[in-house]
């Protein structure tokens, strides 16, 4: 791990602080939701639709209710609040009442004394359907011959219109390139499946414990389903065993069902999905069909881009309208393109709903765009770095949405770093030589991909883009810190503890992080969009600044020096002029206690305002962007067509790096998930039925599959980020697919138009190649 600017002026921020949650997790002490139990607790299981589309004729609960140990079977007619769960659009029932729209749609909930009994009883609930013809494909959906929902199959249509009419613009191109790409689902496969426990309160309220990214979404969904005011729904986040977007809106569905069952039975209800259920019904990354046309001038400038994307949303919108908004903003990558004509269309099908997944509708189009650039470079003879630099977005330039980039744009530096660190020129030559030697058993290739990614919720979600933080300094100098964003493995608690410790002048060890509790913290929006460091970090700074002012005032009194002479660092407050004049944080806090100086503060932060026109797709969709360039070295077996990714070089501009060790860990994880998406993870769906319901069929990378990862950071500070930070969670994954696909293209001389790039597809190309070589 290397950073460009070696000096770090801070005492805690910018250091490789140890993860605050690592010890509990490594010893098995950390409590995930399934590790909790309450007295008298019931176990709930859902009953799922077995057909893709149909009317519900009859639901017979008799046999299930007759089973010993079964306490209740709940259907839509028993919902006490409203039967709806839609996160942004009201199109999804909590329990299907008249129609079912996908295989796996929940129709009933069974509660029993044990999980085993609940599972068995769920099988005994008999549902009679009148099957209807299902829509299984986006092209079919677009014809509107069969409608998934009464109005229209079109979920959303985002347009980007920039510059001249696009056909005119292509006339001015020296060369044009066209290709259509398709990309499959991706499953989050967080190791901990979805789950929650709902506990009824004495005062007809409910407390929900669960694995989630968005406690405030859960609170809202439970309130609607039960018809309770928000203040009677308390949500407490447990340790979360991975999210990746899969625990954004989806946990609300299960929490609302468990809460409903808890309210009806008056007992705590635990609902934990098993792996097959989770694979069958939880939302996925959108499959897409992506038509690209790119126009290039004689000087190697991109002068025109035309894009049409069909995104498969499945049976319900969940948050597809927000996901596909991101697709429309990012399909052109980090390049200056004067003429753009883009249409991103989301479509209903009678299949599992798609939703949030790390990168949020963007890795798909980045793969397509970067494949196009690779084709341009290969056919026109450009070096992939020089071509990208020649077209790169930089300060003062306009993005495809005509957002004038005013600050924090380190894209070109990521290109330079990635090229240098990967020894691109040298490796490319070596690989060419290797590939020309018939004695070698493999082909080797090297591929490049870049990405820009808007931080925070952007124009489509600005109204939710706020965050709170609460800091309480106890009289012994120990501190409780609570924010509204979730630790889900990404390291938020550590990063945010560093920010708090830096601002308060205390040691990290003094801070005790409390998981999100909706009774403590105001609605802080979701833990998504790589926004936690910026949003919760800034909210902490707001609270900590108020506390620091009080502490410095008290220190100046105690040390009998002017307040502007007081320094605070590592648990000590001292005089700048005479460092021996000091008082410990602990002692100072104790003095404050006896002087009745309150040391408990709430902080708040709102994302910078932006201006975007949804009709034209022009304006500022996000306030700032992270940038990255990845280089992948791949090796393809000449006989089996199996691909091995040997090395990834990843250069990321994420603003100030708060913790270099955790940042590189985040990149390594993103690389593994991205390479799984690129070459391994193949979700098979047949007539709406997902067939890959386990890890032996939906195969994700194991330790034997991952490459060496060399991460380099570029720190182009953002004025609105805490200490200049931007986000990294999603950009770590996003360029990987394009880089690996371009590496394979370089190895076997063929640009593949579908992801995952499976060996059987590569084999077809190799077979032709071997046959023609034999002639």
């Amino acid at each position: 791990m290397k950073t460009t600017k070696k000096t770090n002026h801070y005492s805690v921020v910018g250091t490789k602080a140890t993860r605050v949650d690592a010890y509990d997790k490594a010893t098995g002490r950390a409590k995930y939701v399934d590790d909790l139990a309450f007295g008298d607790m019931l176990h709930a299981k859902m009953v799922y639709s077995k057909i893709a589309s149909g009317k519900i004729k009859k639901i017979d609960k008799t046999k299930a209710l007759a089973m010993a140990g079964v306490i209740s079977v709940v259907t839509a007619d028993q919902i006490t609040g409203q039967n709806k769960i839609g996160c942004v659009v009201d199109d999804q029932p909590l329990l299907a009442n008249e129609v079912v729209r996908f295989i796996g749609e929940p129709v009933a909930i069974v509660a029993a004394a044990t999980r085993q009994i609940a599972e068995a009883a769920a099988e005994l609930v008999e549902i009679e359907y009148e099957p209807l013809e299902a829509v299984l494909d986006v092209e079919e959906s677009l014809t509107e011959k069969i409608k998934v929902h009464p109005k229209s199959n079109i979920v959303c249509h985002y347009k980007v219109r920039k510059g001249d009419p696009i056909d005119e613009a292509f006339k001015k191109s020296f060369k044009t390139f066209e290709k259509t790409f398709t990309i499959n689902y991706q499953e989050h496969l967080y190791l901990e499946t979805q789950g929650c426990i709902a506990v009824p309160d004495s005062a007809d309220g409910v407390t929900v414990y669960g694995s989630m990214q968005c406690p405030f979404y859960v609170q809202g969904a439970v309130s609607v389903a039960l018809g309770l005011p928000l203040s009677k729904v308390r949500v407490i986040q447990c340790v979360v065993g991975g999210g990746f977007g899969g625990k954004e809106d989806v946990p609300s569905e299960y929490a609302a069902k468990a809460a409903l069952m808890a309210k009806i039975t008056g007992r705590p209800v635990k609902m934990i999905l098993d792996r097959a259920e989770d694979l069958m019904i939880s939302s996925k990354r959108h499959p897409m069909k992506m038509e690209y046309k790119l126009g290039i001038t004689k000087k190697g400038k991109i002068n025109a881009l035309k894009v049409r994307v069909l995104g498969e949303c499945g049976a319900y919108i969940t948050i597809s309208t927000v996901v596909l908004f991101r697709t429309s903003v990012h399909f052109g990558g980090p390049y200056i393109i004067p003429n753009v004509h883009g249409d991103v269309i989301g479509l209903y099908t009678n299949k599992v709903p798609c939703g949030a997944y790390r990168g949020f509708g963007t890795p798909q189009v980045i793969y397509a765009m970067e494949s196009m650039i690779n084709m341009v470079c290969n056919e026109m003879g450009y070096d992939p770095f020089e071509f990208r630099k020649n077209n790169a977005l930089k300060k003062g330039a306009l993005s495809i949405t005509s957002h004038k980039i005013k600050e924090s744009c380190g894209f070109i530096e990521t290109l330079d770093k990635a090229k240098k660190e990967s020894e691109y020129d040298k490796r490319r030559k070596e690989f060419e030589k290797w590939n020309n030697d018939p004695a070698n058993a493999t082909y080797k290739g090297i591929g490049v991909s870049s990405v820009m990614y808007g931080m925070n919720l952007g124009a489509k979600g600005w109204f939710m883009d706020k965050a709170g933080a609460h800091i309480q300094i106890m009289r012994d100098g120990s501190i409780t810190l609570c924010v509204g964003n979730v630790e889900m493995g990404q390291g938020a608690q550590t990063i945010l503890s560093q920010i708090a410790a830096e601002a308060l002048g205390c040691e990290i060890s003094a801070i005790n992080f409390t998981n999100v509790d909706t009774n403590i913290i105001p609605d802080s929006g979701p833990t998504v969009a790589s926004r936690t460091t910026v949003m919760s970090g800034n909210a902490i700074l707001d609270a900590a600044t108020k506390l620091r002012k009080k502490l410095i005032g008290a220190a100046s009194e105690q040390l009998k020096i002017k307040s502007n002479e007081v320094m605070a660092k590592h648990g000590k407050f001292y005089s700048l002029k005479d460092p021996n004049k000091l008082i410990s944080f602990k002692e100072l806090v104790n003095k404050c206690y006896f002087a009745n100086i309150g040391l408990s503060e709430m902080g708040y932060f709102v994302s910078p305002k932006i201006d975007y026109n949804m009709e034209t797709g022009q304006g500022e969709p996000y306030y700032v962007y992270s940038y990255a360039t990845d280089v992948a070295e791949v090796e393809v077996d000449r006989r089996t067509a199996m691909v091995k990714v040997n090395k990834m070089t990843c250069a990321h501009d994420i603003g100030k790096v708060i913790n270099p060790a955790l940042a590189s860990a985040q990149v390594e994880g993103g690389v593994a998930q991205g390479l799984g998406y690129a070459i391994m993870e193949n979700m098979v769906s047949d007539k709406g039925q997902i067939k890959t319901l386990g890890l032996s069929t939906y195969v994700i990378p194991a330790v034997t599959d991952v490459p060496e990862v060399n991460t380099v950071f570029v720190e182009e500070k953002s004025k609105d980020g805490p200490y200049g930070a931007k986000g990294l969670g999603e950009p770590s994954l996003m360029p990987v697919v394009g880089a690996v696909a371009n590496g394979i293209a370089n190895a076997v001389n063929h640009q593949f138009d579908h992801v995952p790039v499976l060996p059987e597809k590569i084999w077809e190309v190799l077979k032709d190649k071997h046959e023609s070589e034999a002639k």
């Binding site: 399934d34 068995a120 009883a121 099988e123 792996r275 860990a665 993103g670 890890l695 194991a702 330790v703």
Partner: protein, 177 residues
Amino acid sequence: MPDKKTAENALEPMSKIQVKFIVNNKDINVTVPVTYTLLDILRYELKFTGTKEGCGMGECGACTVIMNGELVTACLVLASSLEGKNVITIEGISEMPSAKPIIDSFVKHASVQCGFCTPGMVVASYALLSKYESPTNQQILDGLAGNICRCTGYTKIVEAINEAAVELSKNKKAEVK
């Protein structure tokens, strides 16, 4: 998801089984449904919740424990096959002085993210380092190949094991002296 027949069977009182075995050096005597696995017994009867269920199909390794000296996925071990067995879980391992360098190394190297696979990883690492004092890279890969992690990309886990191996052999040499 079970079929109706197993569902009905599960309710018959006859379908319980008594098993006597050892967990973390303690004698255990429990009566559980015959359909229970070692994982169910550990988590729901004995409250050893450090062992996690990631798939219930023996595919992810989150429930890795040591049984009679060998690594097993607890979700595939039926109650009926437990009689007389000696099981060590993450709770047992985290109390062992010889495992401390492994846990410390996982913490130091940021080898933990969401942490759900971590107990299984630590158990597998302990077994690996009990077998090989200085494992080769290939031995580490083989030793962890059954444990899936979705967060870390494994790099920092392998780093942690390498350093733990060095620490453990230092400790051994110190003991000999």
